[in-house]
């Protein structure tokens, strides 16, 4: 039949990590899958980016901790070139006056130099928090429960039961503690557990990273637990700096998908999803080309998916309103440095580095952002991937990858260009204090503000989780209530990106869950596959 080449079982919009995971699982199940990616390369926000000739760095996401080991195993990512061994890094917090301390996993803790009590408390506290995070993360590879539990299928009920049992198994003390801290702010938590400002600062930083919230904002403990979930059985057990950059993860995923039979087309931007008879019929590319399929899976964020790809005219009003009102405020800038050498303090620094010496520093940095300004003194997370992977920079040279918080998406009186300049300069100023001599080593710098992340990577609001990870935007409320099962209201359209449960980080979990739900529909013949 003519046009058969343009008639697929399933189309995946976007070759980000989750899109590739979904494509791989669908292809493995025997579906004819095409992945359509707007950029010239796969990866989405998990790419290796040559920002200056010869200098490569992970484009948006730069540390891997959430990649679900089950998915990596399922898809044989090791076979497809992903090497995650011996790339685990510890965290070093740099303090003013040349002081610093290290925490694991990945190296021995040196908190004792700061505070004996905290050194003693830290491992137990982190183990406890990780245990709780693990119990919560047990739901990562399940579809979130419906609010009306009675209408769930037996599998859903079983998952919910297991989840409850997992929480129960934490024991009475931990369960009570979890209910106490779940909605709390991370500053209060840090005060409960630790005495030194330095350790509290680090904990607070982990709690606010990726949020447009400060350490004293509610729900930041939940973000901390969310991030810690990658440290247990549902993640990589710590931070990894992937060899070859984050692009190596998505390259392996792309190979896995292709090996399973999926076709990946790059430089193929989707303009909108084709809706016929109120159901998905395919997509229309920006070139006008139509690709048809009765199953269209979007790896784009929920706002882009609903408001642009599907379009409000195919949707109900309250659904559109809830999607419009998602908090999608990016707050972090990504800074890439090309260095002709490293200053003393960083000379052999393979760790992930955090510059957030005390909670008040972060809170004040957030105060600026709250009122639409770039932080005067941003809090920073930094990695120097070229130390462990020299191929990322010319010989003897280095690259640094920095997440600078806060650089708000919603600016009040600052232009985007001004914000870009400010966050770059101010981040270097902060770094110079803890690593003197860094500034004069910088030969080139790239700054990506949330606006840049939006325009270059298609993430609405520059929010790298496709929607902030807060209690009101997770589980059965992700992306919004009654759309928690990866199905968009238009039959045949699915959401597989970070905007769906369980959320952001390079985990592959939303993509995996979406594929499972799609295949359920295929099996129950809700979606006619292969109808040409």
């Amino acid at each position: 039949m003519t046009g058969a080449a343009n008639h697929m079982d399933a189309i995946v919009i976007g070759a980000g990590h989750n899109g590739l995971v979904t494509a791989a699982y669908l292809a493995k199940a025997g579906l004819k899958v095409t992945v359509l990616e707007a950029a010239p390369q796969v990866g989405g926000a998990a790419v290796t980016r040559e920002f200056v000739p010869g200098y490569k760095v992970s484009g948006v996401a730069h540390l891997l901790h959430g990649l679900h080991p089950g998915i990596a195993r399922d898809l044989g990512l090791a076979r497809h070139g992903l090497d995650l061994k011996a790339q685990r890094v510890a965290t070093r917090s740099l303090l003013p006056g040349g002081r610093s301390f290290d925490v694991g996993p990945g190296s021995a803790s040196t908190i004792a130099a700061i505070s004996k009590a905290d050194a003693e408390a830290y491992p137990a506290v982190m183990a406890r928090l990780t245990r709780m995070a693990d119990a919560l993360a047990a739901y990562a590879l399940h579809t979130p429960p419906r609010p009306d539990i009675g209408k769930m299928d037996w599998e859903g009920k079983l998952n919910l039961g297991r989840f409850a049992w997992g929480l129960r198994r934490l024991g009475k003390k931990d369960m009570l503690e979890l209910t106490r801290i779940l909605t709390m702010n991370v500053n209060d938590l840090a005060n409960d557990y630790f005495e030194s400002e330095a350790v509290k600062g680090l904990i607070c930083f982990e709690g606010v990273l990726g949020l447009a919230l400060g350490p004293r904002s509610p729900s930041t403990v939940f973000n901390l637990l969310y991030r810690l979930s990658g440290f247990g059985a549902n993640g990589q057990g710590g931070f990894l700096i992937p060899k070859g950059g984050m692009g190596s993860v998505t390259a392996a995923l792309a190979k896995a998908a292709q090996a399973a039979g999926a076709v990946i087309r790059t430089s193929a931007a989707v303009d909108h999803i084709l809706v016929e008879n109120d159901s998905a019929a395919g997509v229309v590319l920006s070139t006008g080309e139509e690709v048809r399929a009765s199953c269209v899976v979007s790896n784009a964020d929920p706002q882009r998916t609903a408001l642009q790809l599907i379009g409000p005219r195919n949707l109900d009003t309250m659904f559109v309103s809830r999607i419009r009102h998602l908090r999608m405020n990016g707050c972090a800038a990504k800074i890439h440095l090309a260095l002709d050498g490293l200053p003393e303090a960083l000379i052999s620094e393979r760790s992930r580095i955090v510059v957030a010496p005390k909670p008040d520093d972060i809170e004040r940095a957030y105060d600026c952002a709250k009122y639409g300004r770039v932080s005067d003194r941003p809090a920073l997370e930094l990695a120097i991937p070229s130390l462990s992977d020299p191929s990322l920079a010319p010989a003897g040279r280095h690259v640094a990858s920095i997440v600078a918080q806060y650089c708000p998406y919603r600016l009040r009186a600052t232009s985007v260009n001004e914000a870009r300049r400010q966050i770059g300069e101010r981040s270097l100023d902060v770094l110079e204090e803890v690593a003197p001599g860094l500034k004069k080593r910088v030969t080139a710098m790239e700054v990506l503000t949330p606006q840049d992340l939006e325009t270059q990577f298609g993430m609405t609001g520059g929010q790298w989780h496709h929607g902030e990870i807060t209690l009101d935007q997770v589980l059965f409320l992700r992306p919004v209530g009654q759309a928690q099962d990866y199905r968009m209201p238009v039959p045949g359209v699915y959401l597989c990106g970070a905007g769906a449960h369980p959320g952001g980080n390079v985990s592959g979990a939303p993509g995996y869950n979406a594929a499972r739900e799609i295949l359920k529909d295929v099996r129950t013949q809700k979606r006619v596959v292969g109808a040409a």
Binding site: D278, G311, P312, R313, L315, D316, T317, M318, F319, V320
Partner: protein, 395 residues
């Protein structure tokens, strides 16, 4: 001079017709309608009712909330908002329609006037601007509240056409039901549409506020030979029930205002499923839910008409399948004695299987007789809700 506490002073607004209405009112029989003084009755509800059915009744409809909807994509927008197929409505036509929430529950029903391809006026009983704006996301459309731009009188009854003819409106004989015409009369701008809430021959006449008293005076001057008289809401209520029209807050709660989600009702449940066109091109708000409701038979009940034995009006009365009252079916909403039909009528929410015309049910009516409350359990029968439908309505 009495010193009044500021917050105790009456704050209701007076419509541009107020002066004339007040002059004819016996007692102080006002009621509140969207923050306006509105007549409940003038002197005798009975005689006002018979004016509707035999003469030409005048009712001030200025308090209706009006929204002007215009802009490049106004037609697309209205079609997305409402459940009927807009493409079947031509400019200078009015039409009755429902509009729903995502899950197919009725926000409100009412009349929309189409003046041009992309020029509409929506009349509603409740404030809707927030909802209309929400639906507007993604459409190039402007929605403005225009409640005070025009004021209007509803002229209803078999002699209404004669009055308008006498007023000098040429072409009124050719105005079809739901048609709209605009004209100049004695230097005044007028809009006349053929619609109403009585189920009778009738028109609505809209003028600019400064022309209100002129219109009133002219109408009563030329209407003298046609039994013209003002009416209040109580007489209109009887005509409305006879005609089968539902009323918000009486027969249903608007989805945006219902206190309990389960109290919201769908167009199918309200017996106005005919306003839902599942086959019209494109999507409209609530379509998926309404389609599911229709295909899977999910309607919980239907608001049907019933005719009741005896003469006791039965608002808020329970219906049963059996005389013993063991098997409860539902509740009545609107109810009255129909003076024209000489029947005891009501609307009742009952499961669809009980709403088949002629189906016998039992109804429990409590009523007061001097100083006693008495109960009667009598028979009632499902009936077409449009109890009264004279040929002149659309002739």
């Amino acid at each position: 001079m009495t010193a009044y506490v500021e917050h105790l002073k009456p704050f209701l607004r007076k419509t541009p017709f107020h002066e004339r209405i007040e002059a004819l009112m016996h007692g102080n029989h006002w009621m509140r309608w969207t923050g306006h003084y509105s007549p409940a009755a003038f002197e005798s509800v009975q005689s006002e009712y018979f004016t509707i059915r035999n003469g030409a009744s005048v009712y001030d409809i200025s308090p209706l909330i009006k929204y002007r909807i215009h802009g490049r994509q106004a037609a697309d927008y209205v079609n997305h908002l409402i459940t009927r197929d807009l493409s079947k409505v031509k400019p200078m036509q009015a039409f009755y329609t429902s509009w729903c929430q995502d899950d197919g529950m009725l926000v409100e029903e009412g009349t929309i006037f189409r003046f041009g391809e992309n020029d509409f006026l929506l009349n509603s009983a409740k404030d809707q601007l927030h909802w209309l704006e929400q639906v507007a996301y993604g459409f190039e459309v402007k929605i403005e509240e225009a409640s005070n731009d025009l004021c209007g009188l509803s002229l209803q009854g078999p002699q209404s056409r004669d009055v308008l003819r006498a007023l000098g409106i040429n072409g009124i004989d050719h105005l079809p039901r739901f048609g709209i015409m605009e004209l100049e009369l004695g230097g005044h701008w007028l809009r006349v549409d053929r619609a109403g809430f009585t189920g009778d021959l009738g028109y609505e006449i809209w003028v600019k506020p400064q022309d209100a008293l002129w219109l009133w005076d002219r109408l009563f001057e030329v209407g003298r030979d046609h039994k013209i008289a003002p009416i209040g809401a109580q007489a209109l209520e009887i005509a409305r029930i006879e005609a089968g029209f539902i009323l918000i807050d009486v027969d249903y709660s608007g989805a945006l205002h219902a206190l309990r989600p389960s109290n919201r009702m769908s167009p199918y449940e309200l017996g106005i499923g005919w306003t839902v066109n599942l086959n019209k091109p494109g999507y409209f708000v609530g379509k998926r839910a309404l389609k599911r409701e229709k295909e899977q038979g999910l309607s919980r009940y239907v608001l049907t008409g019933i005719e009741i034995e005896g003469r006791k009006p039965a608002p808020g009365s329970f219906l049963y399948a059996d005389q013993a009252g063991k098997h409860e079916l539902g509740l009545t909403t609107s109810a009255c004695w129909s003076p024209t039909m000489k029947k005891n009528i009501a609307y009742a929410r009952v499961p669809a299987s009980y709403a088949k015309k002629g189906n016998q049910m039992w109804i429990e009516i409590w009523y007061q007789k001097e100083h006693k409350i008495e109960r009667s359990m009598v028979r009632c029968w499902a009936a077409n809700r449009m109890f009264y439908d004279p040929p002149r309505k659309s002739a």
